[in-house]
């Protein structure tokens, strides 16, 4: 979600185009340089390319390198760039662990940049005709980065339901998260929520369309953001997925615009 904000600066011209091109190049370079092998475009991951995540984990014994680059123009006009590499592992049946770090760039506030995230997700069930699939995830953000203090935590409940016969594998998703800031500053919330309602469908054999509506409390007391996003997940090879998405805020406390490119790549050998 949107990162901490402070000072407002004038935006550089063509910042979005430059940032996206640079980010895409960096992520593709990282992908190509890695000995790799079955990312799955239908297994929707947080931030790749939009906020919504499905209730399904990576397969047991799966190993996946993921990365994303996001540009966001915040509601005060500041530009923020996020580069996030992460590694996802299927450590137990129906469970995954994800470790990663976020590098914040640009004129916007960089507090918590380079913090390390460790997250586990457990899926409780395969969906049935009536029952959605449910999962629960927990994340700890360790204060290894810029101006960080305390371990911030998140607990998130996830549900996914395929819509009946669903010839295009149409699915709805619900994510509800509770964030706790260990060292909230004056005027900041120590607890806040995030709700995401999402939708996905298969456009063609290799492409999944994803869309969501995000409602979140911001760190500052009284500030709430609403964002509408959409994106595509494209299966490039059996083990590589490329993603791209964009979103726009609704209301004056929401980010103006955001755009994300990223990839998932299954590691195959050794």
């Amino acid at each position: 979600m949107s990162e901490p904000r402070c000072c407002s600066r004038a935006r550089a011209p063509h910042a979005l185009a430059r940032a996206l091109l640079g980010g895409a190049a960096a992520l593709l370079a990282a992908s190509a340089a890695t000995p790799a092998a079955a990312a799955d475009h239908s297994n929707i991951e947080e931030g790749l390319p939009i906020e919504v995540e499905d209730a399904f984990p990576i397969a047991y014994r799966g190993r996946e390198l993921q990365g994303r680059f996001r540009y966001e123009r915040q509601d005060g006009g500041e530009d923020q760039y996020l580069l996030e590499p992460r590694l996802e592992l299927g450590v137990l049946p129906n469970a995954q662990v994800r470790i990663g770090s976020r590098f914040l760039m640009g004129p916007a506030d960089r507090t918590t940049s380079r913090d390390v995230d460790l997250e586990g997700l457990y899926n409780f069930n395969q969906e049935s005709v009536l029952l959605p699939a449910f999962a629960l995830s927990a994340r700890a953000r360790f204060p290894t980065g810029v101006d960080s203090a305390g371990v911030d935590t998140r607990v998130k409940a996830l549900a996914t339901k395929t819509l009946g016969p669903a010839p295009r594998m149409e699915r709805v998703h619900l994510n509800v998260a509770w964030d706790h800031e260990a060292a909230a500053g004056a005027g900041e919330r120590s607890d806040r929520y995030l709700v995401v309602v999402g939708y996905s469908m298969r456009l063609d054999p290799d492409t999944i369309l994803v869309a969501d509506f995000v409602r979140q409390q911001e760190r500052e007391h009284g500030a709430d953001a609403n964002i509408v996003e959409a994106g595509l997940r494209y299966q490039l090879t059996p083990q590589t997925v490329l993603v791209a998405g964009a979103g726009a805020g609704i209301g004056e406390e929401s980010p103006d615009v955001r755009a994300t490119v990223g990839f998932q790549h299954s590691l195959s050998w050794p």
Binding site: S128, P165, D206, H221, T237
Partner: protein
Amino acid sequence: MPVARRHAPCCVPGVRSCRPPSCALAAALVLAAATSAGAILQAEQRNEVSFLRGPYNLAFFYRHNDSFRYSAAFHYHHGKQHDVLLLTPLSDHVAVDVEFDADVTRFTYAREARTEPTMELFGPYFAQVAWSMYRAIDWTHIHHEQTYDILSDRDIAWPDKSEWTARAVRHYLDANPDVALSCAPLDVTMRRAGTMMKPYFTYYRSYYPRSADFAFVAHWWHPVVYEAMMIAGNDDEQEAVVDETNRVMLTQVFLDRPQRMLLSREVMPRYSRMSPESANVFDNLHMLHGIIYDIAAYEGWSDEQKRAELYRVLEAMRRQPGDEALARKFRTPHPDMDPRVYEPWMKGYEGEMNRIMEEMMREMMPLMMPGGMPEAKQREMRRQLRMKLMPGLEPGEIPGSLHDAMMAVMPDMKMMPGTMEPGESAPMMRDAMLAGWREKYGDLPDVAPWPMQHEPAAPPVDGVRAARAEAASEP
């Protein structure tokens, strides 16, 4: 960005009685979770397992991309077919069969499948009904990919291919044991499954003959591509032989489709001798596809009943203790077959699959007709069986399942308990068939291993045989 609130506060820090929205939300979540707990506990888990890592991963994708796309197109057929059958009223079968076959055939010829689909991607409804069947299918398709990759990888020396294949087989059998299919021959697993007298048996091939024929093409292609690589070796001949095999598929096999499921021992005899476990797993998978489609097409049961029967069949066809010892108990009737030639014996009724079916029928008959039956009835029974095992409904064929036909021929036929019910086995019938197999084949010598010490050189195609086969396949 000012931090002053613009809206009414939802919580005042320091006031203990105040519950922030996140707390209320958490409480609601806990309540919802508790409410759903019972249902969740009843549900199955996904239990997906990732593929085996190896230096060969993706070798088939990069070296034989056309073949990779054909394989993926066949799996498009397999995945989509589940939902088509489960959601189509039987009364619509003629139109749906034509439409579906046209769709999957076009998809294959156009090489539209760039990557391998999971079953769920094109059959999401069936995934909600019987998820474990998809686990078994996808897991075995991964084994297909693994073993194609090993044979395709130039960096794996020819003499090392069998050991890498054995490693992939061990992983297949051990890493996902509750859905890994048996490495015993189909002769054994079909007898364990005991599906012949179930009320759904032969529905798919009778009512969706074009779609079933398509599956028979797919189950010709999968094994012959192994065999193409087995006769070509590691060098550039591999591309040439695989490409020629694909050409035969597009120009002959699709136009004059096999009328039965071909077994590994028939159309990939060399690979079957190198890795009989892997070959048997594929036969069991290909037969499982047909049984699943029979059950999905049958209208007499609810989704829950179908699930019970599907899981019973899976339990019977998955790997069981002692299966490895049976892996080599088969013969190779066409040891010199050439994957580049679509031989007449590949097309018709006569072959290993239907031999197994006829044997099972003979083994069951003493239990179902303990007093015997007149010769005329026996002839009619054999005639109906033969028609039921061929795609479509022929003139004189009794509609419905094989069971329906048998009951029409022999109304006083005795059915064993468990024969007709979903999820139930008929132990007496099963035991009689297994005893019949042991009596006939228990002492069969193991099929000999295939020599892998030296890389083969592809033999020239027998021009006379190839020309004759091509002429015979012209529409």
